[in-house]
């Protein structure tokens, strides 16, 4: 039983990462109806920025919680800027073009960031410095929780609660929801659609950067191609939860992480990476709008 609880815990910590990345996918889809395939690479840039920031500011040598916080904030800010730049340069000019053009552009940006990353950062894997000394915090019988896992879960919760507050309680959040319901109507009501979209990208990218830092802490190997598979899986998580739905992305991410871990543990770890895609096919066959998505009525 305690082994199951431990696996559940492992799955939730791992799923938190997927949830953070999936939020970016879902928010951008909500306002633009675009799947931002470059989002996985923003997660990678977040991890890389954190790595270089930690080394440049000396936190790699002297680990501390304050250092971790600074690195997190810096990385989130850098990726917010990156996200806004990508939107401005790659997606805004294609706003009135057919959707396929934006999709292809997104894939192109993804490849650009991957290969650019290999040129800029070098293709060898890097190892994220231990900004927090890993310690066992809870030991209840066979259950071991490390302080890093707690930190991952805690940060993810805080960010998700923060996002929920922004979306439901602030003017910007209201503007975001307006744009995702009906962009031209929102524009007519005086909502600055371009700025809202930029802001959405910035928010999503900041969350992806946080995911990158958290992964750097708990699974310290980072390299320029690290965003490929997690990006795809987070996209699946967003679809699972209902693309466009924020609670859907959170639940989808956690669910995917737990299922992946449990299948790895109890069936075979050979199928770990395949699970996400089996789920994708199943969801698209049986419930394409996802768990939290509502069917859209199309008026003909």
């Amino acid at each position: 039983m305690e082994q199951f609880l431990q696996q559940l815990l492992n799955g939730i910590a791992w799923g938190s990462i997927y949830a953070l990345i999936a939020l970016g996918y879902t928010m951008v889809y909500g306002v633009l109806k675009l799947i931002n395939f470059a989002h996985g690479e923003v997660y990678m840039v977040g991890a890389m920025t954190g790595y270089y920031a930690a080394h440049a500011l000396g936190f790699a040598v002297e680990p501390s919680f304050a250092g971790l916080f600074v690195v997190l904030v810096l990385s989130m800010a850098a990726c917010a800027a990156l996200g806004a730049t990508i939107e401005r340069v790659a997606y805004r000019p294609l706003r009135s073009a057919p959707r396929l053009a934006s999709l292809i552009t997104a894939i192109g940006i993804s490849l650009l960031l991957q290969n650019g990353g290999q040129l800029l950062f070098g293709a060898d894997p890097k190892f994220f410095p231990s900004l927090v000394a890993p310690r066992e915090v809870v030991r209840a019988g066979g259950l071991a929780v490390s302080n890093i896992q707690l930190f991952v879960f805690g940060t993810t919760m805080a960010l998700m609660v923060g996002l929920q507050l922004v979306v439901t309680r602030t003017r910007f959040g209201r503007a975001m929801r307006a744009v995702s319901v009906d962009a031209p109507a929102a524009a007519l009501m005086g909502v600055p659609v371009d700025r809202v979209i930029s802001g959405t990208f910035m928010l999503g990218s900041a969350l992806a950067a946080a995911a990158g830092i958290l992964v750097g802490l708990s699974n310290p190997k980072i390299d320029p191609l690290m965003g490929l598979l997690p990006g795809l899986k987070a996209f699946v998580a967003a679809v699972l939860g209902g693309i466009g739905s924020i609670p859907g992305a959170m639940v989808g991410g956690l669910l995917l992480g737990v299922v992946e871990t449990l299948i790895s543990a109890y069936v075979s770890s050979t199928y770990r990476d395949a699970i996400a895609f089996v789920i994708l096919i199943a969801i698209l066959l049986y419930r394409p709008t996802g768990l939290f998505g509502t069917g859209q009525v199309e008026k003909v």
Binding site: Q3, Q6, Q7, N10, G11, W14, L112, N115, Q118, G122, A123, D124, P125, F127, S130, P134, E136, R139, G142, A144, S146, I148, Q149, V215, N219, P220, K221, T261, L262, S264, A265, S268, S269, T270, R272, D273
Partner: protein, 392 residues
């Protein structure tokens, strides 16, 4: 004919396509020359190596060892009156690219012999090409028996895993008194699958019990699911016959889950990166490998000194194996009398009693070397010689 905005768009598109093509040309190859003492034309030797990627230290160390050996050989006249020239191709630690790298060296550079690779999966990818081209290939460090079974032009300068598997199985039983062991292996790598098989076979034969058998893929970063299952089986030790990058992460996550029993491994751990990535997590672990840098043999010490002076780092087993492999090749060239494939192949096959840094190397009829193994312990953040195990 075109409007000006269409014209500038076409120009922009053309520039982008050009940039894209440049990007797509990808990572270039690494070519270098070593020595060059004689005025005669150099003998091209190919080296397929993982100079970048997850197992980068394997390729880099081996390459350095080879270059140092070739420099010394060229300084004393080279082989057959000609200097040796080492041409290295990077396979980026990717199995399929090892074959591409081998083809480049065989067809474009027309090398006389192919050295490499360290990872058995990659040697298995390159070997058929060398066999087909009738160019002798010597792997410095691939330990899976299948490598030399590819053909009679394929050799290796190290021991094989049927032996290495017994080394750690006996070590676990005799030294650590372990009755129950769990295995966590990399099912994408022939080396790891083979070594796990041989360990499993020997350990159960001498009365031990395998209580958990888990697997992962090269490139994985998350192992907590498998480690939790292993932890529940309460093993006395865990055998992890994988490569150093994953091992470092596995060690850290194992400690986080409260796993205190020692981890055991094979020569895939032999890299400074094991200490760098694993940090304090790998303290007290053991692994088998080809040589110990802190051995008190005068030959080893002299080699370590020269290597340190040249490269500023302590040579690991791959560097020592690379050094010996280049030496064996030069020796074989001299005995063969010329660089033709069949003659060189026969000369390599006839290598007996070559005194290398990694031991006395004799190539047996199966084209493998019978050599002793050493068990190293990770202590105080360093690899320390623990015990030597004679060849069986």
């Amino acid at each position: 004919m075109f409007s000006s905005s269409q014209g500038s768009r076409t120009l922009a598109a053309g520039v982008l396509v050009l940039l894209g093509a440049l990007f797509a040309c990808g990572q270039g190859s690494d070519e270098g020359t070593a020595g060059g003492a004689g005025s005669a034309s150099p003998i091209p030797i190919g080296h397929v190596a993982s100079l970048t990627g997850d197992t980068a230290t394997f390729g880099q160390s081996t390459d350095r060892g080879m270059r140092m050996a070739i420099e010394e050989i060229n300084a004393s006249g080279g082989a057959l009156g000609r200097p040796l020239e080492l041409l290295s191709e990077d396979d980026r630690s990717v199995t399929e690219e090892a074959r591409t790298a081998a083809l480049k060296l065989l067809q474009r550079d027309e090398v006389v012999a192919l050295l490499g690779e360290i990872a058995s999966s990659r040697s298995l990818a390159a070997a058929p090409e060398a066999q087909r081209a009738k160019v002798p290939m010597i792997s410095p460090g691939s330990t899976n028996p299948k490598v030399t079974e590819v053909g009679d032009y394929i050799f290796r300068a190290c021991f094989i895993d049927p032996f290495q598997g017994t080394v750690m199985a006996r070590f676990a039983t005799e030294e650590l008194k372990a009755k129950k062991v769990a295995i966590l292996f990399d099912f994408k790598q022939d080396y790891s699958v083979g070594l796990a098989d041989f360990f499993r076979k020997t350990f159960t034969e001498i009365g031990g019990e395998i209580v958990a058998d888990e697997r992962y893929t090269s490139g994985d970063i998350e192992f907590r699911a498998q480690l939790t299952t292993i932890r529940a089986a309460k093993p006395d030790a865990i055998f992890v016959p994988g490569y150093y990058t994953e091992l470092g992460l596995i060690a850290k996550q194992a400690r986080e889950l409260g796993i205190e029993v020692p981890l055991l491994g094979g020569d895939g751990w032999d890299s400074e990166k094991t200490l760098e990535i694993g940090g304090s997590a790998v303290e007290g672990y053991y692994f088998s490998t080809h040589y110990a840098a802190d051995s008190d043999s005068p030959k080893v010490q002299a080699f370590v000194e020269r290597y340190k002076e040249k490269y500023g780092a302590t040579p690991d087993a791959m560097a020592a194996l690379g050094y010996d492999t280049a030496g064996i090749l030069a020796d074989a060239l001299t005995r063969a009398g010329d660089t033709s494939g069949p003659k060189l192949r026969d000369a390599i096959a006839a290598t007996q009693g070559y005194e290398g840094v990694t031991g006395r190397i004799s190539i047996d009829p199966a084209r493998n070397a019978r050599k002793d193994a050493v068990v190293l312990k990770i202590e105080g953040g360093k690899f320390k010689f623990y015990r030597s195990v004679p060849a069986s």
